[in-house]
Subunit: 237 residues, 2 copies
Amino acid sequence: MTNALHKRLACFTELDESDLAHLDRLCEDVRTVKVGEDLIGEREKPEEVFIQLEGWACRYKILPDGNRQITGYLLPGDMCDVFVFILEHMDHGIGALSDITYAAVSKQKIIDIFDSHPRIAKALWWSTLVDESILRQWLTNMGQRFAYERMAHIFCELWLRMKVVGLAAGDEFHLPLTQNQLGDTIGLTPVHVNRTLQRMRNEGLVELDNKRLKICDIEKLKEIAQFNSEYLHMKRC
Amino acid sequence: MTNALHKRLACFTELDESDLAHLDRLCEDVRTVKVGEDLIGEREKPEEVFIQLEGWACRYKILPDGNRQITGYLLPGDMCDVFVFILEHMDHGIGALSDITYAAVSKQKIIDIFDSHPRIAKALWWSTLVDESILRQWLTNMGQRFAYERMAHIFCELWLRMKVVGLAAGDEFHLPLTQNQLGDTIGLTPVHVNRTLQRMRNEGLVELDNKRLKICDIEKLKEIAQFNSEYLHMKRC
DNA sequence: GGCTCTCAATAACATAAGATAGGCATCGTT
DNA sequence: AACGATGCCTATCTTATGTTATTGAGAGCC
């Protein structure tokens, strides 16, 4: 079940057997959450770090007027707020987009890693820095790109991230999002998400049906999005 | 000259005399950069951490089509990419928006802090996490808010950040941005930045002249922006 | 002195995306 | 079988914002 985690960290660094074994031991406290429920709510005080094992979750912010912005996805192998216990409270929530399983790792175990497993510690830092880099890229897409390009970009990113953890065989992967949620991600109304999606289908770029996204023409998609994967910092992929 | 740095970190934690003295020693390698020049370019490999002492800098990304997105501001007292030497290369550039002075701190000195000065180390983590939180907030503004609200929000944020480092006396502060750069920050064309600014002036919210922004009605501005400062995690301010 | 630049301001027009509404499936519940 | 909820799709109309272009003020330069 920690397979995705191993693959994800392998993008950054080579971990030896003892590191991998230690990672697996960290993931012993496995929990499940049903679709639609929160792993942690906005304004709560986090006491543990989460490692995503199966399924999709997202970070989100709810505004006073009820609008919601999804600010990131947690895919299998992703880690969540490694240093978050430094902050007093969450400035956003984390919710399950599908039924998920994750491992809860105590604060103390994280602190111990920094003393005893420097390679893992470095990988945790890497993960945090990549999260930040993705945010910068999303902000850039939102500020400088049209709906069509933004959608192409998010599809390219998710495709690549699923691929490195072995979950996008045959250019097809599980995308457990409603059009509404996709809109909350790239700042569009559901109606315009639909329009944009229809256009992509008509142009033979993607197929999306029954929560599965099939990438039909990745090169074209990358071109539309001006997609450059460097911001994901996967130096070993 | 490290006054702003002290004030900034004081938002998060109480540092004692020896911590403050150590901070000052870190800031001995002071450098200057002229407006318009880069502190570090996109794709370069960073070897040092920067501590902003005077003036404004920004993080930015340039897209293949020439568009630019500003993804963050570095104000006096801000620190830059404390852990960045984990990544192979910069995924964005850092440029000077005014003449600036900053301190360059070597990789090794940063690593030493984590061994010898845990309170400072924690403050560095805090700084990184706040950067990430600001990015989430900017993304949310970009995705869910109109131009008028976005502009109100960025003014509220900058006002507060300048205030905590003692640089916004009398609700007025130095804002060394052209309307073009402001547009690159909140995802607007210069023409629409100007329109939006005129509206704010007409409604008596702000005055902006000669690179100085005066906040005339902060309460109204906060209301328009639905501004809630919690995302800045200034627990002691 | 006139030159070029940059920046702010404004006007006229174009369009990407939002708002509203309705129809049609599917699915779980009673 | 009837029901309500949810998600997808489409059409029509509106509007926030982009595009293009012009003007004038100020700053630096030779």
